[in-house]
């Protein structure tokens, strides 16, 4: 037997390190946006585009198994959005991200957001060379979501609770959710937002600005 002990995600890790260097060389902060399907990733970015001083300098790589619907929506609000189809893959691997970046002019961007595949499980395992990892959770998904998907939430720098305008309608238990988040991700900053009403977006743009060093307003 040939003893190897080689990580199977080795290549993704190496490619992620290369991406990290590429981003640093372009002085480009990068956000990896993760959530379940339907939590509102694209809607949050649409709202962000409305408030960002120069939306044409905000790049997005959108990963989905199928359709380019999300990239189209983001292009319509002035973002530099490109779509990646991951085919059967449930996550965006570093190699596919690297290929997608060739379709963007990184030097012309202030910030790049990776809108990852809607999935709370696999994407959390794949480093993409990001500066910041943001987990999005919508009210109504369940207060125990952080406990059920600890890998993802523990790896998040920022947790956004979206659809806060629906909190009463779904009987959202704020204190229970915060308690679960502090158990799993005690260091993460938590913000409540509504992509539809715009609630919480001043705080979000300020937080992004502080965390990635880009002037927000």
């Amino acid at each position: 037997m040939l003893e190897l002990a080689q990580p199977l995600l080795q290549r993704n890790s190496a490619q992620a390190s290369a991406l990290r260097q590429r981003f640093a060389a372009a002085a480009l902060p990068v956000i990896n946006l993760l959530s379940a399907p339907g939590s509102g990733k694209t809607a949050v970015l649409e709202q962000l585009a409305r408030l960002w001083p120069a939306p044409q300098r905000l790049g997005v790589v959108v990963a989905d198994l199928a359709t380019d619907n999300d990239a189209r929506r983001l292009q319509a609000v002035g973002l530099q959005a490109v779509q990646v189809s991951t085919g059967q893959l449930c996550h965006l691997p570093a190699a596919l991200l690297a290929a997608a970046l060739d379709r963007l002019d990184l030097e012309a961007l202030d910030l790049l957001v990776i809108e990852n595949v809607g999935n709370l499980v696999c994407p959390a395992l794949f480093d993409l060379g990001e500066t910041l990892r943001v987990a999005l959770l919508a009210v109504g998904e369940g207060e125990d979501k952080p406990l059920k998907y600890p890998g993802l939430f523990a790896s998040a720098d920022l947790v956004l609770i979206n659809k806060i305008d629906l909190a009463d309608a779904v009987g959202f238990d704020r204190s229970l959710t915060y308690r679960h988040l502090s158990q799993v991700a005690p260091e993460a900053k938590v913000l409540e937002i509504s992509a539809v009403s715009g609630a919480g977006f001043d705080a979000l743009t300020d937080a992004l600005s502080a965390l990635v060093g880009v002037p927000a307003r």
Binding site: M1, Q6, C122, L125
Partner: protein
Amino acid sequence: MHELSLMLELREQAQLQLQLHQRRRVVAVVLRIGEAACVDGDALALAFDCTMAGTPLEGAALQLQRTTGRSLELAALELQ
């Protein structure tokens, strides 16, 4: 879920070892899978069969060793 991409990676690594050691076939593969790695053993076995068909790994015995944590490792290969 991502068992497919893991098997594609395994295939690449195994084929590199075949080249390095000047062998023609892989007869056994030992993978070490962490319990928190969110990998399903059955799905992995199925993905293995699909991915290795028509390659020097076709028909190789796949052994899964369970461990703690999130590791996903090619532990060992038996080459022929």
